[in-house]
């Protein structure tokens, strides 16, 4: 029998583990003990906080304290580790390893092994709070929703719906993420975004435009099959620690491991080869490798003939990157680059892994495409052990991206075109004209004409034009409104699960936060947002429940969906995000439309299962249609039946399915598609999870065929390339009559993306074909600023000698509604005043903006101070010793006060800072600005305060991996 541990009250009634060090604390076991005593001890109950007392009384009724096992998924990174909770009387009392999970096999990193602390929640935001006269005051939910709603409606009246910004979160589960995007749409704006913009937006854009889908092609587990593993800008040992279980297993199976990074990371410590590049020189390094591959004929010629378009243009660019030029630009000696190229060529299949080190650049989209081209040239995509294993960041950033919390698209990457809105309006059951009316349709008649009567910027219909991205919300507030392609500036911001310290340009951010009429934080923690601005009024903090206090599905990096149980009830006065969305929609007057197909329970909580079913009815593009709540719940109960390398269930109730039904899981749930474990893998039939490259870019370009040649997935009846499926194509093929009568009615005039019956997909797959067609991957993207990925020096570069040859872009007047500067910034030479390159990255103990993890004492103890890594040479040059306080000043003048950590982990001339800290500004601890008892244990300067301007030319990804700085003793 499971033993429960109960303890008597210690004599003074306060067994407080952290007392004296951290102030008063109540741990969960203490709380449990008190609840069990509350039956007979009124005196004890008196010691509890009011909220806990209510919970205590509720718990007391359920005497006995049987231990229940409930299962969830870690809420930190995207590996998707299973979490097993022991719950007694509604209290999370123990955490056990989830040995059944094929993703982590019980393993956890520091963050995952400490998630039970969420059930303590000592430093959580406990009640709705309002800033009044510079002080935080507790308010009721009703009061908060009413006041916020009135203000938002007032702003809408004065400035239009685009002046309210809905910043969502990768911490939402899928259902909340989808609901949030829909919420913004029904409010009438595309000013909605989330963390994906600043983590992998350049990946999604670059990769999707290369071969169809912008996601990790294989899986962590599939790395067991790799013969070579190439990491560039990825520090898996700290950012995805449990992935290292699979990576090191792959290595033990004989794979060669290469790490490319400006830092000698903990991942590099396990590599066979490490190459230290100058930050921002990924394209030259990759082209430098391809130089050798092409020169020696190591490319996979047959694969390229069948499946790759435009590689000849790449060859011309690659020819420029001789070993000498690569060394001049990257700093990596020629023989090392050749060795890496040879290793990749001789050890196939090989996989490439990249993360923020590659994506967060002004040329991030060029980097991601160059990585893809390397893999295409080697014939490594669409094979087990190969692929582009793009490790996503947050636990559900893949899902939140798929479900479209993005300013430039609707759920499922449908885009913002008329037809896209029409598709979703049909799924939502709302009238398209009503929906159009929600947007600022009058804007084009009233704005954009200056004194001379000419338009300053091109007009765009706010419904069909990409909104302001999260990286640029600051400019949405501060930029002259005449330069913004919408009626007015941003007036109110919702930070709904988003830390502002993940965005650059601290001083301007502070100013923007002070300029906004209203700031609303919806989060389990107050976050850096609550303390950064000097405000007296107009700020609200609403306590959101964590994902352990609600339930729903979550998508791991490998596109697998997992179901989370609710472990415990929401703590204190917190509410699940979808409940808050309902309350807000009701106040704003569109709850009926928002929840037309979704049951709302009496406690204002929308039914998660209904939301997922609506997702299933609309997400045809990427196959989020087969993962019904029932199928996901069945998998949750049968995790142990899945193979830990292939992810295939062998026998049992899920026989033949892949774990998590990785998307695309085609057709309706009834079609029982098993999911697609490896994208573009032609060795399996589409019905069994096989695929080929997507026909996304037409059938020909410049007179050349874009469709695949002599390559098709196993069992395809069309044994060559073919375009994407539509009703007309079915008719031409003579397959139309394979549809049922109902399907015919729904499919008429539609295509595989818009046929709500799923019939077109079903019939295509029945004939062995991929619904999205069968084309070549394209090595060149003619719709991007750089058709061929090329190197461009960072805006703030220390290598002025390279600027002429590798200049950045021209300034742009209107990119995502905002002027975006490139050349005018690069033109200023800051390299003598700011001689050091500044880069940033992760620590294993913390996650994202870090508020949640820095509020967890088990983690906070391990990293107590914000620091910067400095090479001994640079430290000695500036008279800095290990452990000294230093001022680090970014090239735009913003400075942070941090501890110096002298280490050769960074190269000479490069300084590194972790980005998880917050709660300090300009050398000062902002502890007194937090609501009482809700400050994280560890606070420090936000690294991004010192980071500078710079945004990707396609996605507005912020540049946080390469700028300039100087350091001095504080």
């Amino acid at each position: 029998m499971k033993l429960t541990k109960k303890r008597d009250l210690s004599p003074d009634g306060t067994t407080v583990p952290l007392k004296g060090i951290l102030g008063s604390a109540i741990d969960r076991r203490t709380f449990l003990r008190r609840t069990s005593l509350a039956v007979g001890g009124g005196a004890v109950a008196g010691a509890l906080q009011p909220v806990m007392m209510r919970r205590a009384e509720a718990a007391a009724g359920a005497a006995g304290g049987e231990t229940e096992i409930r299962k969830s998924v870690c809420t930190h990174c995207s590996v998707g580790c299973g979490v097993v909770a022991e719950v007694q009387d509604g209290v999370w009392t123990g955490q056990e390893p989830d040995f059944d999970s094929p993703f982590n096999l019980g393993g956890h990193c520091a963050k995952g092994a400490s998630v039970r602390e969420h059930g303590h929640g000592e430093r959580r935001l406990k009640y709705p709070m309002k800033l009044t006269g510079g002080k935080w005051k507790q308010v009721s939910w009703d009061e908060a929703i009413n006041e916020i709603g009135d203000k938002v409606l007032d702003i809408r009246k004065r400035s239009g719906p685009d002046s309210v910004y809905w910043l969502g979160s990768a911490k939402f589960n899928n259902e909340q993420a989808y609901l949030f995007r829909k919420f913004a749409g029904l409010w009438g704006t595309n000013n909605v975004d989330h963390q994906a913009r600043i983590c992998h937006s350049t990946t999604v854009a670059g990769v999707a435009n290369t071969w169809g889908y912008g996601a990790m092609t294989n899986s962590y587990n599939d790395m067991h099959n790799s013969k070579a593993m190439f990491f560039i800008g990825s520090n898996a040992a700290e950012a995805h620690p449990v992935a290292m279980q699979h990576i090191l297993k792959g290595k033990e199976n004989g794979a060669k491991m290469i790490v490319v990074d400006p830092r000698f990371t903990r991942t590099a410590a396990h590599a066979d080869q490490f190459m230290r590049i100058r930050p921002g020189t990924d394209v030259p390094l990759i082209w430098g490798m391809l130089y050798h591959i092409f020169e020696n004929g190591w490319e996979d010629k047959e694969y390229i003939r069948q499946r790759v378009f435009g590689l000849d243009e790449i060859r011309k660019e690659v020819a420029k990157w001789t070993p000498d030029e690569v060394e001049r630009v990257c700093g990596v000696p020629g023989d090392q680059v050749k060795l890496a190229a040879q290793t990749m060529a001789e050890n196939r299949p090989g996989t490439i892994v990249w993360c923020m080190g590659g994506t967060q650049h002004t040329i991030g989209n060029n980097n991601t495409r160059a990585y893809c081209v390397l893999q295409l040239a080697l014939g490594n995509v669409g094979v087990s052990g190969g692929g582009a294993n793009i490790f996503r960041g947050h636990d559900n950033v893949q899902g939140a991206t798929d479900l479209g919390i993005l300013s430039h698209t609707l759920p499922g990457y449908y885009g913002l075109a008329e037809g896209s809105w029409a598709h979703w309006a049909r799924v939502w059951g709302v009238d398209i004209d009503w929906l159009k009316g929600r947007f600022d349709s009058g804007y084009m008649d009233t704005k954009g004409v200056d004194e001379e009567g000419t338009a300053g910027i091109p007009f765009a219909n706010p419904m069909n034009s990409a909104g302001i991205p999260v990286s640029r919300w600051i400019d949405g507030v501060l930029e002259d409104s005449r330069n913004i392609d919408q009626r007015d500036n941003l007036k109110a911001m919702f930070f709904w699960g988003h830390a502002p310290n993940s965005q650059t340009r601290g001083p301007e951010m502070k100013k923007a936060l002070e300029t906004l009429e209203m700031v609303v934080v919806v989060d389990p923690y107050p976050t850096h947002t609550a303390v950064l601005p000097d405000r007296q009024e107009g700020m609200y903090l609403l306590p959101a429940a964590t994902q352990f206090e609600t339930y729903g599905s979550v998508t791991a990096s490998n596109r697998s969906l997992q179901w989370r149980d609710k472990l415990i009830e929401p703590m204190f006065e917190s509410l699940p995000d979808h409940t808050i969305m309902y309350k807000m929609a009701k106040k704003l007057g569109f709850a009926d439309e928002l929840f037309k197909n979704i049951q709302v329970n009496s406690n204002d909580e929308p039914l998660i299962e209904d939301i997922l079913r609506e997702i299933n009815r609309g997400m045809w593009t990427i196959g989020y249609t087969g993962q019904s709540p029932e199928r996901l719940k069945l998998q949750l109960l049968n995790k142990h039946t899945f193979n830990t390398t292939t992810l295939l269930a062998e026998g049992g109730p899920c026989d033949g399915e892949y774990y998590g039904l990785p998307w695309p899981c085609w057709g309706t749930p009834e079609m029982k598609h098993p999911g697609t474990p490896i994208l573009y893998d032609t060795s399996k039939s589409v019905a069994d999870g096989g695929l080929n490259f997507r026909a996304r870019f037409g059938v020909e370009f410049e007179g050349k065929n874009l469709l695949a040649e002599d390559s098709y997935s196993v069992g395809a009846e069309i044994q060559d390339g073919y375009p994407e499926f539509s009703a007309d194509m079915l008719k031409q093929l003579g397959w139309w009559d394979d549809l049922t009568a109902d399907e015919k009615a729904a499919a008429e005039g539609k295509n595989w993306k818009t046929d709500l019956s799923g019939g077109i997909q079903r019939v295509a797959i029945a004939h062995g074909c991929a619904p999205f067609g069968n084309a070549k991957a394209r090595a060149i993207v003619w719709t991007f600023p750089d058709r061929v990925p090329i190197h461009r020096e960072p805006l703030y570069t220390s290598r002025r000698d390279l600027v002429d040859k590798y200049p950045t872009y021209e300034d742009r007047k209107n990119h995502y509604r905002l002027p975006t500067r490139y050349a005018s910034i690069q033109a200023q030479d800051k390299s003598s005043e700011y001689p050091l390159i500044l880069t940033s990255g992760r620590l294993v103990e913390y996650e994202g903006g870090g508020e949640e993890t820095r509020s967890n004492p088990w983690l906070a103890e391990l990293q107590q101070e914000m620091f910067a890594e400095i090479h001994p040479g640079d430290a000695n040059d500036t008279g800095i010793r290990d452990g000294d306080w230093i001022w680090l000043e970014g090239a735009e003048g913003a400075r942070v006060k941090v501890r110096a950590q002298i280490t050769e982990r960074v190269g000479r001339g490069v300084v590194f800072m972790p980005f998880h800290f917050g709660g300090w500004y300009d050398g000062k601890d902002l502890l007194d600005k937090y609501p009482e008892g809700a400050a994280p244990y560890v606070r420090g300067e936000a690294a991004n305060t010192a980071f500078t301007y710079g945004y990707d030319s396609v996605t507005q990804m912020q540049e946080t991996k390469c700028t300039l700085c100087k350091i001095s003793a504080a």
Binding site: E96, G107, G112, Q245, R266, E845, W858
Partner: protein, 196 residues
Amino acid sequence: MARMKFLCDAERCIECNGCVTACKNEHEVPWGVNRRRVVTLDDGVPGERSISVACMHCSDAPCAAVCPVDCFYTTDDGIVLHDKDLCIGCGYCFYACPFGAPQYPQKEAFGVRGKMDKCTFCAGGPEEDGSQAEFEKYGRNRISEGKLPLCAEMCSTKALLGGDGDMVADIYRERVLKRSSRPQTWGWGVAYKADS
């Protein structure tokens, strides 16, 4: 009879500190007391290796040999435990231990040390198994529940192995053979003697 052992595979340890927070989670030890820590050698330069360190439950434990009040005892499973009711906090065990395992509560800078605290291999202490007194003094007793130490069970990369020494050795031997390289263990020879 099984002998319980820890082994940290330095080729797999990535210094993620999962073992450290798993221990804190399970035993709710206070801030400042770390029954398990991860030590990194050659930090930031080629050759960097990390190892997770706690009490190694030595075959012939030096802590027990030097303890003036004889508070240590070894269980039938080979787990080295101590009795906090006897412990006087003298700190001799700290000097004797080759692994720096003994921990002391940080009450004041120059005051008397509190009772020594260390890894119990998740086996509690002399109090009744699973009792509340045992939990307060020594933490949770997983061994009596038929479970192994949480740090090893939760290790992100399966670097830290804990359990029956024969099984640990088998798992590790298989890995070393697969890698076809020299073993890179840490602590095994010192704690358990080379031939045990």
